[in-house]
């Protein structure tokens, strides 16, 4: 297919494939004509130099944004699991916040498990279990300075934990206690005789939080069927630990925490994830925003090699012009800072030129006369 190789770097792959599809069986001369016409159309649809794409994007995302719902969405079936949706979620993503309101993961599984094999067992083994979930009663014996734990045997069986597992977990979780198991309880006895009640009481609260099994950070699990396979949706995220598990499909499993993705999979993955997450929200609200606008925002956020929010601490702080920075938020601080170090403003962008009542370098204001210096 030598006719197509000429256009390989000129036309996007998708358009080229479509042309290939439609011109099947045509003569070479005709295909050449089609390609030339396609090329002309493609050049016409390109964004003109000087077009203010940022403003167009802001309006295109902002206008439908006014129609978005403001509430969180409850997952059908599970009471404690909500998902931040709508405008709050969009703000969360674009501000580049690292503490999400509802961190979530979608865990895809490998072949036999994705068809539902042991799905309940796997889900439970991922869920983080703390000591107070398997203990039915905590008791403090004041006379002996000891803590007694009555175990909930049913729950232990369900989670596949034995008493020995729990004892060794407690041992590594807290120091200064002798641990033995009696008939129906685990007894923690203080090693030092002179322990105050207060200290024992604090320790009792401390051991409630001892990690027994599962993946740290995963507080809820919910196996659901999606299309042909079963996946596990969790609340709470820990991408690194989950990807290391044997039965997890490590090519598709994701989280909605963009900073976690950046840390474990890199900026490019974070950029893709921003696009996916924003688009998911917009789509779920029944709105229609061209994905290219979102791509532009995501590209801007990831330009510096790490995810930066559209805030005064993020993207805006990287603008080279003092006046542009001052026009966004906290103007006085920026101007004082710039005055202190003698910063220079080259007035190359839009906002600073608006402030000084000069033509802005956008659209027809962009071209400029430049004198060529003779060599």
């Amino acid at each position: 297919m030598s006719i197509f190789t000429e256009y390989k770097n000129k036309l996007p792959r998708k358009i080229l494939n479509e042309v290939k599809e439609y011109t099947k069986g045509m003569s070479e001369a005709k295909i050449k004509k089609v390609l030339a016409a396609t090329m002309e159309e493609y050049e016409n649809t390109k964004v003109e130099p000087g077009e203010c794409v940022g403003v167009v994007s802001a309006e295109s995302i902002g206008e439908p944004g006014t129609q978005m719902t403001l509430n969180t969405f409850h997952f059908a079936g599970v009471a404690e699991m909500n998902v931040t949706m709508g405008l709050p979620r969009i703000i969360e993503i674009l501000d580049g916040r690292s503490n999400l309101k509802t961190p979530m993961m979608e865990i895809y599984l490998k072949a036999p498990y994705s068809q539902g094999k042991d799905i309940r067992k796997i889900a439970l083994s991922i869920k983080e279990t703390l000591l107070n979930e398997v203990v039915s009663e905590f008791m403090i014996n004041i006379a002996e300075n000891s803590i007694e734990l009555r175990m909930n045997n049913e729950k232990m069986k369900e989670l596949g934990l034995t008493e020995n597992n729990i004892i060794s977990s407690i041992k590594s979780g807290i120091k200064g206690y002798n641990i033995r198991s009696s008939k129906e309880a685990i007894v923690l006895k203080s090693k030092t005789k002179e322990e105050t009640i207060n200290k024992v009481y604090i320790d009792k609260e401390k051991i409630k939080k001892i990690h027994l099994s599962g993946v740290k950070g995963i507080s809820q699990v919910l196996p659901v069927r999606r299309g042909e396979e079963y996946i596990i949706i969790t609340s709470g995220t820990n991408l690194k630990a989950i990807l290391e598990l044997d039965y997890v499909d490590s090519t598709r499993t994701t989280t909605n925490d963009i900073f976690e993705i950046q840390k474990i999979l890199g900026v490019e993955a974070a950029r893709q994830s921003i696009i996916n997450e924003v688009f998911k929200v917009i789509e779920s609200q029944g709105l229609d925003v061209d994905i290219r606008h979102i791509m532009l925002v995501a590209d801007t956020m990831c330009n510096s090699g790490e995810v930066k929010g559209i805030t005064r601490y993020g993207v805006v702080s990287q603008k080279s012009s003092v006046l542009a920075r001052a026009s966004f938020e906290t103007p006085i601080r920026h101007i004082i800072g710039a005055a202190l170090i003698g910063e220079e403003d080259k007035l190359t962008s839009v906002v600073e030129n608006v402030m000084l009542n000069q033509p802005v370098p956008v659209g027809t204001g962009l071209p400029d006369l430049v004198t060529q210096v003779k060599k």
Partner: protein, 81 residues
Amino acid sequence: MVKKKYNIQEHGLVPEHLKLSEKEVKDLLERYHISLKELPKISKKDPAISHLNIKEGDVIKIIRKSKTASESIFYRGVINV
């Protein structure tokens, strides 16, 4: 270090990252009339390029899978952060 069981490069969110040769970098910068500093950046410690053996000042070619163009090419300059 313990060998990781999963491979970052195989993850669906991670596009293909390639290192450009010195000549390719020169051609690229000439084609767009820019300097290396003006390229979008990527950290030297970025997990997606840890297998490439890179140093500061290299240029990474990224072949993104795109919904609109099916494939788009992006470049990032490596910075030391």
